[in-house]
């Protein structure tokens, strides 16, 4: 931030604003995560509670003796977004630590190449966690080096016995410590983070071993599964899986997770910072196309925030309204100029009367006042925008085929992009909305009323009133419809009396006609009214953000920067570096107009350019020839015969070096098919 073009105190302020904003957002996302996982964790906790509830109880039931004890196992299906799992597991182990047991081991496949490593890791974690709990008594454990402990299950069992005994005979003061809340025999939980990556043999051995000791050691396994629970059967043979008592737990799908995050972070007025349409699209695309990782999405969001505060000098105003007003008052002259330079502000100025224009452009105080007003406007706009967007989403999500998208994020993108009412999809969805049946319409209206009532916006009283009016009208209609039905029933009775075919036909036609007319007059008219009203709401409130003045302050819209940062393209970068060294070296002499190969470029670039022109097998002699031609082009005729021999050697050496560098980069490799040839490994433009 320091070397930014703006003045230094501003940049510091911006940094502080950015920091506070991010910390708020971070807290919010963590909260979301916690809420989403709560259900899952609750289930898991109750499963663990009862899994070993009968441990060490001296039951005389005959079933006890006969049933082979199975290891309680929770199969936790978490979805393919492996990057998010770490966080989930961390919070899971925290939850377990607080509620169930202090003995938790988290195992990862990369640490457990063999059963020996696995046991070592397991024991290390279990015994260490024990030390953490009451470190005063067990100093001697620390001194015992890892190697000295016999890493076998028997050691673990005796350790467990000693630990439980100790808590059992503990002093009253110790009873109050968290360990007492775990019950007398807390289970030992072993979490295998990535079940898929464990080698089958290790897993089988581990399960067999632990099943031998299940009577002495209340062990619970938790498998983290990324793909599908069928995995377990693929990995474990029946003889091993019969030792497990598997229960399935499914976490929320990551798509749902994302929509909650978007809902809570973007579609709210809580945070002043907003994402522009293109940026949001980039982030969502990365999520959907590549990794399904909500963590990465949030990281991208963070990057947007940082980038925005870094590149936009006016981002000082991007904070809560009251602070923003204060900031606006304290704007320096340079900052005022920045405001005047904003395209959206210029548009605003041009729409004013001429005296006002002059005042705005010359007097800072006038400008500041206007900026405050505009900021307030923007805030109100956002409040209204969110509510109306939700309302519209209620309507469109009901429609068949979802012309405006199923998720609210898609709708949000469309609205940000352009005037939504000008799009074809909007037209068609309105068409469809005009054909909705009554019960759907009523429920939608009720939902809309709820949205508006719960939202913080001020100007919604009227809207709510209007919607409620619609609702009562529908109810009236219903009442009338009942009466009408009575009428029709009676007419049908009449109909039964008549036996004449001609008359019958006639009355039927009449009935049909009358029914159609009535509907048109009552229900359909009302329906049209409702749809038109919604349409008017949309036109009023869902104006795209870049039509608003000062939107640059809070919207981040440079998607290209983001794409550059998040969509790394190593091959393309390498190609540009070698093909056009100017791009990275910024040396004026290297600037070329595309076609020719400059001899000033680094050797490797020349060699690369030349090799692009070759086929699959490259003759080294020809390549050297071409290389020396390019290099010699500058020196030209002045070189005399004596020095040329020496020059040749130098060029030869330079060439060999360039070629070996290319080999190192993986563009070519030595070929055995032909002597003095190398094979090209890459094809195409990049």
């Amino acid at each position: 931030f320091g070397e930014e073009k703006g003045d230094s105190e501003d940049s510091e302020l911006r940094f502080a604003t950015c920091q506070s904003l991010w910390s708020k957002i971070k807290a919010e996302t963590e909260q979301i995560q916690e809420d989403l996982n709560k259900q899952l964790f609750d289930n898991l906790v109750s499963f663990l509670r009862q899994s070993h509830s009968d441990f060490q109880e001296k039951t005389t039931e005959w079933t006890r003796g006969m049933k082979p004890r199975e290891i309680p196992t929770a199969a936790l299906v978490l979805g393919v977004n492996v990057t998010d799992h770490n966080l989930t597991f961390r919070s899971l182990s925290e939850v377990l630590q607080n509620n169930i047991t202090p003995y938790i081991a988290l195992l990862e496949a990369k640490d457990c190449a063999g059963i020996k490593n696995l046991m070592q890791k397991l024991m290390g974690q279990l015994m260490n966690c024990h030390i953490d709990e009451d470190s005063l008594e067990d100093e001697d454990y620390v001194q015992v080096s890892q190697k000295r402990i016999r890493c076998s299950m028997t050691t673990l069992v005796s350790w467990y016995e000693s630990v439980t005994k100790k808590t059992d005979s503990g002093t009253p003061s110790k009873r109050t410590s968290p360990s007492s809340s775990h019950g007398q025999y807390p289970p030992v939980v072993v979490i295998l983070k990535d079940m898929e990556s464990f080698s089958t043999k290790v897993l089988q051995d581990f399960i067999v071993i632990s099943s031998q000791h299940i009577h002495e050691l209340p062990l619970v396994l938790i498998f983290g599964i990324a793909t599908s629970p069928m995995m377990i059967h693929n990995v474990l043979p029946h003889s091993v899986s019969s030792l497990l008592c598997i229960e399935l737990f499914q976490s929320l799908s990551c798509k749902d997770h994302l929509s909650t995050v978007i809902d809570k972070l973007l579609l709210t007025t809580q945070f002043p910072f907003k994402l522009g349409e293109k940026v949001l699209q980039v982030l969502i695309n990365i999520f959907l196309y590549h990794d399904f990782s909500v963590q990465n999405f949030i990281k991208g969001y963070q990057l947007c925030i940082v980038e925005h505060f870094y590149s936009q000098p006016l981002s000082v105003l991007c904070c809560q309204l009251e602070d923003a007003k204060m900031q606006a008052n304290a704007l320096s002259h340079g900052q005022c100029e920045n405001v005047r330079r904003l395209p959206s502000f210029r548009r605003y100025v041009e729409s004013q009367v001429s005296e006002k224009q002059i005042a705005l452009l010359t007097e800072d105080s006038c400008l500041k006042e206007t900026v405050q007003e505009l900021l307030e406007d923007l805030q109100v706009y956002h409040e209204n925008y969110v509510s109306v967007l939700r309302c519209l989403h209620v309507f469109t999500s009901f429609l068949p085929k979802h012309p405006l998208g199923k998720q609210i994020r898609e709708l949000h993108c469309t609205c940000l992009e352009d005037r939504v009412w000008e799009t074809e999809e909007y037209e068609s969805s309105l068409q469809l909305a005009r054909m909705l049946n009554k019960s759907d319409l009523v429920t939608m209206l009720q939902q809309c009323v709820e949205i508006f009532v719960s939202s913080s916006g001020k100007g919604f009283d009227k809207i709510v009133e209007k919607l409620k009016e619609f609702l009562t009208q529908f109810q009236q209609l219903e009442a009338e419809a009942i009466q009408e039905q009575d009428v029709s029933v009676s007419s049908q009775k009449e109909l039964q009396k008549k036996t004449d075919l001609y008359h019958l036909q006639k009355t039927l036609l009449e009935l049909k006609e009358s029914r159609r007319c009535k509907k048109l007059t009552k229900f359909e008219v009302l329906r049209f009214e409702v749809v038109d009203y919604i349409d008017s709401l949309v036109r009023e409130y869902l104006v795209p953000a870049d039509h608003k003045t000062l939107h640059e302050v809070v919207y981040f819209n440079t998607a290209s920067v983001l794409r550059e940062h998040l969509n790394a393209a190593p091959r393309i970068a390498l190609h540009t570096a070698l093909n056009n060294p100017f791009c990275y070296l910024k040396n004026q002499t290297l600037q070329t107009d595309g076609g020719g190969i400059s001899n000033k470029a680094p050797d490797i670039c020349i060699a690369y350019r030349l090799h692009l022109e070759c086929g699959r097998l490259i003759n080294l002699v020809d390549w050297l020839e071409a290389f020396s031609t390019v290099v010699m082009a500058a020196e030209g005729p002045k070189a005399d015969a004596a020095s040329s021999a020496q020059d040749d050697d130098v060029i030869h050496a330079r060439f060999i070096r360039a070629v070996s560098e290319l080999e190192l980069l993986g563009f070519i490799k030595p070929s055995k098919q032909k002597t003095d040839h190398v094979a090209r490994l890459t094809w195409g433009g990049c």
Binding site: W62, K67, S197, G666
Partner: protein, 432 residues
Amino acid sequence: MPNLEHPAYPAAKLLQLESLVPCRESQVSLLLSIFGEREQFSFPSIFIYGHRASGKTYVMHTLLNTLQLPHVFVNCVECFTSRLLLEEILIQLQRYSEAEQSSHVPCDTLNDFVRLFKQAVASRELQDQTLYIVLDRAEQLREMEANILPSFLRLQELTDTNVTVVLLSEIVWELFRPNTGCLEPVTLYFPDYSIGHLQKILSQNHPPLYSADFYAAYINILLGVFYMVCRDLKELQHLAVLNFSKYCEPVVRGEANERDTRKLWKNIEPHLKKAMQTVYLREISSSQWERLQHDDGEPGQLKGLSAHTHVELPYYSKFLLIAAYLASYNPVRTDKRFFIKHHGKVRKTNFMKKHEKTSNHLLGPKPFPLDRLLAILYSIVDNRVAPTANIFSQISSLVTLQLLSMVGHNDQLDGPRYKCTVSLDFIRAVAR
């Protein structure tokens, strides 16, 4: 039925033993005659093999315990290194001599073991009795150092003490035989239990609340359903316990008495069939099954593990997987025909494709280079795909998910080769 007779042991003990090991009397008597009397030197090593759950471990355990023969019982899976194994034996030996509770001694090599073993035996003053070392799941010994198995086979000779090593395994001796220094053990085969045996063993342990006949009838029904698919005694016992409460239900409610076998059979049979499809395959866990019985709910609500086959994948991962599948199961020479537009020979390709598909599926997936995978990917995705780092990282994440597998060396940077490991059904689900 051969009654167990042996001069060395009291008849009461033998009778007790006989009641504890039903259907294994002949093996036990054979073992007893091999063992001889307490002081007599026995064979240096005995190899017992038989199928899973044919009572090897159980018989050895009860035999040694009821006759109170000094023994050491070690599971070789648990002691995954030779050091652990040897130390475990020594620790168990120490337990016999309560007086001397020395801290555990490190024992890294077999040489140390022999020395320490001699010491332990001498200090226990048990030289006059045969000591039995039972090594369960002995097939694991083959994976330890080469000298472990031969030296266990001739431990008697090495330590010069009265010791007999008993190896228990599920596989035949021929697969064990080490190259050098091998002393042929006495091999003993435990045959599978027949249906009659199973019936007898299972009904032996009847619940105290019900009569033995009633339980035997239940076992009969159970075996009728499950014998076709499962002859594993443990598994059958497990199933018997799980489903017994359901069987008793009509009796408890008073709708039928214990003799009313036909009615009970009608009640239980569909239930058992359901159990065969779910619990036996571990589709749903036994505790869930018990809960289900308790609530009397439909198992339809509880989806088994295999019901959740669908895997959600990111957009490009799906295409990568499909491309990998195509690359694995289509020969290279057809690529040009399948993936380049306007090739013109539609009819012929269709015929060829059908013909080759079947044979290729029987052959299994073939490895393919990374370049080919990417080339196919570019041709099957409609819009342009930039070869960003994201795509490459998705390939490696598919490998960690075990949907693809890397062929050859892991550290090979140029031209890694992959294999697609998912089935046609899975790909169909993904491609939808």
